[in-house]
Structures are given as structure tokens and as C-alpha cells.
């Protein structure tokens, strides 16, 4: 189960809407207690994909390294990665799966016509052949 607090959730939604019609991406930081994860900070990161950014995202490992360091400094953990799907459902695509890693929760925000629509969180397996849906809780409005 992953729960996103109001502050970071607002930042993630705003980021996804601002970057629309392209895909946005970022890191989620917080605390892990057994299977319960709580996201208390969102860090917007650059989409460095050289393909069309309307349908692709790529994180710079250096940015991820910075997010990881920021988490350490705050005595928190890097919990997951978020990205948006412009005008498309919050499913975990083949491309998402193949380029994911099994260490993190992957939150996908669906943005329809520029407005946030819905979201899902996914947990890829070690071989990156399947992703399991994770219960996602976000603050309403």
C-alpha cells in the first residue's frame, strides 16, 4: 500500500498538468513501514528522453542520485517514481515495464485534455515481465 500526502500529491498533479501534452516524471520520498509506504515529498525531475516526450520519459540517473541523496539527508527513503500518461489511461505499458526496475513503486498519473484524471501504482517483478497493481491512496481534491 502506498499513500501520498496532500503536499506532494498536489505537486505531482500540478507537474503532470504543467508538462502536458508531454510526459512528466519525478521521484517520491517518504517512509516505509513494512508494506505501508507514505510519500511526504515529491521531487519533479527532468524528462531527458530523446524520443518524443509526448509518449516517452526517461530519468537521468544523476537526477535520481540527487533525489536519493536528498532522501538520505532528510532521513527518509526514496520510495518510488511517478510519471504521467497524457490522454491515456494510468496503465503500466510494455515500455514502462521494460524500462522499470523492481526496486520502487511506479505511480502513473493519467492526464486527460490537460486535467488530472486518475492514477495507479505498479510494482514490477524482478525480470520486468509483469507489474502488480499496488493499492494507492491519494487525498481527494
Amino acid at each position: 500500500m502506498i499513500e501520498i500526502e496532500r503536499g506532494p500529491w498536489r505537486e505531482m498533479v500540478n507537474h503532470a498538468q504543467a508538462i502536458y501534452p508531454n510526459e512528466c516524471c519525478g521521484a517520491m520520498i517518504g517512509k516505509i513501514d513494512g508494506d505501508a509506504k507514505t510519500v511526504s515529498h515529491a521531487i519533479a525531475l527532468d524528462n531527458v528522453s530523446v524520443g518524443s516526450q509526448a509518449a516517452r520519459y526517461e530519468l537521468s540517473p544523476k537526477d535520481l542520485l540527487r533525489a536519493e541523496r536528498e532522501a538520505r539527508e532528510r532521513k527518509l527513503d526514496l520510495i518510488g517514481i511517478y510519471h504521467s500518461h497524457p490522454d491515456c489511461g494510468a496503465y503500466f505499458s510494455e515500455t514502462d515495464l521494460k524500462n522499470s526496475c523492481p526496486w520502487y513503486s511506479f505511480v502513473v498519473l493519467s492526464v486527460q485534455k490537460g486535467r488530472f484524471d486518475h492514477a495507479n501504482s505498479w510494482l514490477p517483478n524482478a525480470e520486468q515481465t509483469q507489474a502488480e497493481k499496488e493499492e494507492l491512496i491519494w487525498p481527494e481534491s
Binding site: 510526459e23 516524471c25 516505509i32 527532468d46 531527458v48 528522453s49 530523446v50 524520443g51 518524443s52 516526450q53 509518449a55 516517452r56 520519459y57 526517461e58 530519468l59 537521468s60 540517473p61 544523476k62 535520481l64 542520485l65 536519493e68 532522501a71 538520505r72 527513503d77 526514496l78 520510495i79 517514481i81 510519471h83 500518461h85 491515456c88 505499458s93 510494455e94 515500455t95 514502462d96 515495464l97 524500462n99 522499470s100 526496475c101 523492481p102 526496486w103 520502487y104 511506479f106 524482478a126 520486468q128
Partner: protein, 475 residues
């Protein structure tokens, strides 16, 4: 000895440590020490073949070890190793038509490209700056490869002197805008792609607007102001710049401005003094050379889009056609780089013509005119009248072989100082070259040496061909 930072999800396999100190003189040794101490970590970092999993990157302090010496990168005591996954994703989109599947079948049957790769090529948007020597092979092969959208920037017109190397244009195209001729050839090769014409000179005013629609920019230009402009715009817009340059028998290629990699200014922070490095128009170029370099650029472009192989990021490939040798130089990102460094001073596009010290007007700076220039028609009249004067040609011997003005004496510009004794100071002197630039320098020099009656033939032998004798070939 080095410190390794363990990412949160892996700490459960490392006795809950977030940081461990391990012995080793290289990255490889430290990683081996890590998996020896925590065997459970191994399957999370390495695949069954014992190689690091595809998504695992290792950073030594702030540098990716792939751009250093990989496993052999030496580590010293205060160094920190970090394990960082590479993460990307996106929507599944686009399909190939039956015609396209047939057309791209030799790509599709290779697993490294396959349907997924061909769709990446189809959704890619590449801008070619220049449709000349480098742009010709680039345009033809990138079109053939199925790059979905290719933009072309050029404002020149096809000339006979282009045809020795610019194979995208043919004899029938002479006089036609290059961009038009290039688009005709490319759409004949592949009608399934979108071609966009930007028939303009790339400038600081329009670069951002033109680049905005593309993912990758390929630099096929032949001058320093445009080269710096393309570089800076790519760095500022975070778009890779696939670079190539050619001169005589040698060429270079690399990928600049790739995230984390160096840019053109890391290599050359300042342009060379104007006139020091001759252009291909001045120094010549083996016609085949841009084919080789342009195709290296095309290969790098396709690899970047497919995300396969080792790109030239951080490596400058040098090609010597006469020795038939490839060499490479390691390029490192310069933290002091004025545009991509840690504290950039160039944060917007500047006046690149001024930056490179190229005069704004097309004509070379006029020497102080004592008796002024002389028109080719006037020189002809003097020859016809049998006036006594010395006509000096300051071009190179191989140019003299192409064409010459009867009665002229060849003294190449570089030899003028040591052969000045051959020139009679009492005589009236007219100096000429190909276009009037080199002869202006010679005239300046002779005047400084005390020659009074020395004049420059305006427009050189090109103007002679236009105004006096059309049978003299232009080159």
C-alpha cells in the same frame, strides 16, 4: 577502499546497512567485495551471466563509471560509489503499415531493432542543419532508415562545385534551392516520412523555435558561428547534437550535449581566430570524406534513437582518409564550461558572428586604399595596350593549374615575404587571387615593404571569368 551507498530497497539484503565501507583498488574490486559480504545482493545487481543488470548504473562520486574506465576505474579512500537504476517508460503507440513492414524488413528481423526499434525511428524527429556535404548522406540514409520526421535547414542554391560530394543533389538540380532538391531525393527514397523545410539561415533569433519540434539535432554545417550556435541551443534545450566536421582528408565526429556528456565548448571554449582555420571552400575537401563522416553521424543518430550500442558521447572519433585510420580521443565534460558547466555564463543565445570575430559584411576588410583597386576589365585593357606592369597571382600552384591569366607570375601568398626580392619595386604591380581576399593581404604586405604602385584586382580570377573571359573556368 570506498564507501558504497545502498539504495533503500536493497538494504534488506545488506543487513539493513545504508552505507558500507569496503576494500578495493578499483570499482570492480569494491563491487566484488560488496557481493562477497552480502551474497543476497548479487541477484539484485547481476544477471545470470554475471553482468550488471541492464537497469543498474554505478556512479563514482558524480560520474557514471561507463564514461570512465568502467570496472577498472580506480577508487581512492574518500570516494563514494552509488548504485542508481536507469528508469524510463512511455506509451505504446504507432504501428507500421504493410508497406512499411516490407520496406523495413531487414531492420525488423534484427532483434536489436525489431518492431519496437522501428517504431522508435518512426516516432523520432530529427533536424539536419545543412544539406551540403554532410547533410547529403545524412538526409538520404536517415530518410531510408524511416525516421518519422526530418527537418532540413538550408538557404543555399545547388552549384556545380557542390556535385563532387553533395550526392543528394544532381546535375539537373543546379540552380535549384538545396532544400528543395534534398526533399525531392529524400521523398523519392522514402515516401512514408514527413519532411519539413526550414529555408532560412539558422540564427540566434530562430534557433529555439526551429529546434523545439525535434528530439535530436545533427550538425552538418561548415562554419564556426553556426557550429557554436547549434551547440549552445542544443545545450540550453537539452537536445543531443550529433556533430561532424571535415577538412581536406580528415574528419571528426562525436555526440555533444547529451545529458551528462560534454559539449562542443567543453572541447573548444573559444573559436579560433578568424582566418586561421580555412573552410572547405578555401582548403578543399576530398569528395568522399563527407560521405564517411556524415554516415557516422547518421549511425550515431539511429543508435541514440534506438538506445543501442555505445554512442560517441564522450569520445571524439578522428578519421584520416589518407592513412585510412580511425583514432579516438576521450572527451570529458568540463565543469568550467561556459554553457554546460556547473556555473554557466552563457544562458541564452548570443551573437555568434561577432563571437567568432567574423566581419558582418561578406567582403573581406578592405586594405587602406592608396591607389585603390583595379577592375579586371582595366587589367585586360592594360594587357591589350601592352602597358608595362607586373601581374602577380598569389594563389597556390594547384589552383594555377586549373586556370590562369596569361602573362601572370605565380607567387603563392605564403611565399611572398621570402620572394619579395623578385618583385621590381619600380614597376607597376597588380596582384590577384581567386576572389580578391588573399591578394588584398599581399597588397597590404607589399605596401608595408615600401611598394608604392601596387593594386589589387577586384574579385580575383572569378571576376575575370565573369567580366573578361568566360572561357576561364570557375572553381
Amino acid at each position: 577502499m570506498a564507501r558504497i551507498l545502498i539504495p533503500t530497497p536493497l538494504r534488506q539484503f545488506a543487513d539493513k546497512h545504508d552505507t558500507v565501507e569496503l576494500p578495493g583498488a578499483t570499482v570492480g574490486e569494491v563491487l566484488t567485495a560488496l557481493t562477497t559480504r552480502f551474497p543476497d545482493l548479487k541477484k539484485h545487481l547481476y544477471n545470470d551471466e554475471g553482468k550488471l543488470r541492464s537497469f543498474v548504473n554505478v556512479y563514482l562520486n558524480d560520474e557514471d563509471i561507463r564514461y570512465m574506465k568502467k570496472d577498472a576505474t580506480p577508487v581512492n579512500d574518500p570516494d563514494t560509489l552509488s548504485i542508481v537504476p536507469s528508469i524510463a517508460g512511455g506509451l505504446d503507440e504507432a504501428v507500421l503499415s504493410k508497406d512499411e513492414i516490407l520496406r523495413y524488413s531487414r531492420h525488423l528481423i534484427m532483434p536489436e531493432v525489431g518492431m519496437e526499434g522501428q517504431l522508435k525511428l518512426k516516432s523520432a524527429k530529427v533536424l539536419l542543419v545543412g544539406t551540403g556535404g554532410l547533410g547529403a548522406p545524412l538526409g538520404m540514409y536517415l530518410a531510408a532508415a524511416g525516421i518519422g520526421k526530418i527537418g532540413l535547414v538550408d538557404f543555399d542554391v545547388v552549384d556545380f562545385s557542390n556535385l563532387q560530394r553533395q550526392v543528394i543533389h544532381g546535375t539537373k538540380d543546379v540552380g535549384k534551392p538545396k532544400i528543395q532538391s534534398a526533399v525531392e531525393t529524400m521523398s523519392d527514397i522514402n515516401p512514408h516520412i514527413e519532411l519539413v523545410k526550414h529555408e532560412t539561415a539558422l540564427s540566434s533569433e530562430n534557433a529555439f523555435e526551429i529546434f523545439a519540434d525535434y528530439d535530436i539535432v545533427v550538425d552538418g554545417t561548415d562554419n564556426f558561428p553556426t557550429r557554436y550556435l547549434v551547440n549552445d541551443a542544443c545545450v540550453l534545450l537539452k537536445k543531443p547534437n550529433v556533430y561532424g566536421s571535415i577538412f581536406r582528408f580528415e574528419g571528426q565526429a562525436t555526440v555533444f550535449a547529451y545529458p551528462g556528456g560534454p559539449c562542443y565548448r567543453c572541447l573548444y571554449p573559444e573559436p579560433p581566430p578568424p582566418g586561421l582555420v580555412p573552410s572547405c571552400a578555401e582548403g578543399g575537401v576530398l569528395g568522399i570524406l563527407p560521405g564517411v563522416i556524415g554516415l557516422i553521424q547518421a549511425t550515431e543518430t539511429v543508435k541514440l534513437i534506438l538506445g543501442i550500442g555505445d554512442s560517441l558521447v564522450g569520445r571524439l572519433l578522428l578519421y584520416d582518409a589518407l592513412g585510412m585510420k580511425f583514432r579516438e580521443l576521450k572527451l570529458r565534460k568540463n565543469p568550467e564550461c561556459p554553457v554546460c558547466g556547473d556555473n554557466p555564463t552563457v544562458t541564452k543565445l548570443i551573437d555568434y558572428v561577432e563571437f567568432c570575430g567574423v566581419p558582418h559584411q561578406e567582403a573581406p576588410p578592405e586594405p587602406v586604399a592608396m591607389t585603390g583597386d583595379i577592375e579586371p576589365t582595366e587589367v585586360k585593357a592594360k594587357l591589350d595596350r601592352g602597358d608595362k606592369f607586373t601581374l602577380i597571382d598569389v594563389r597556390e600552384p594547384h589552383e594555377f593549374q586549373i586556370c590562369r591569366i596569361p602573362g601572370s607570375t605565380l607567387i603563392p601568398l605564403g611565399e611572398v615575404p621570402k620572394r619579395v626580392g623578385e618583385i621590381n619595386a619600380e614597376s607597376e604591380i597588380v596582384v590577384h587571387c581567386k576572389s580578391g581576399a588573399r591578394s588584398a593581404k599581399a597588397v597590404d604586405f607589399l605596401r608595408q615593404q615600401g611598394y608604392k604602385k601596387v593594386r589589387n584586382m577586384k574579385g580575383g580570377i572569378l571576376a575575370w571569368s565573369d567580366k573578361v573571359d568566360p572561357t576561364v573556368p570557375k572553381y
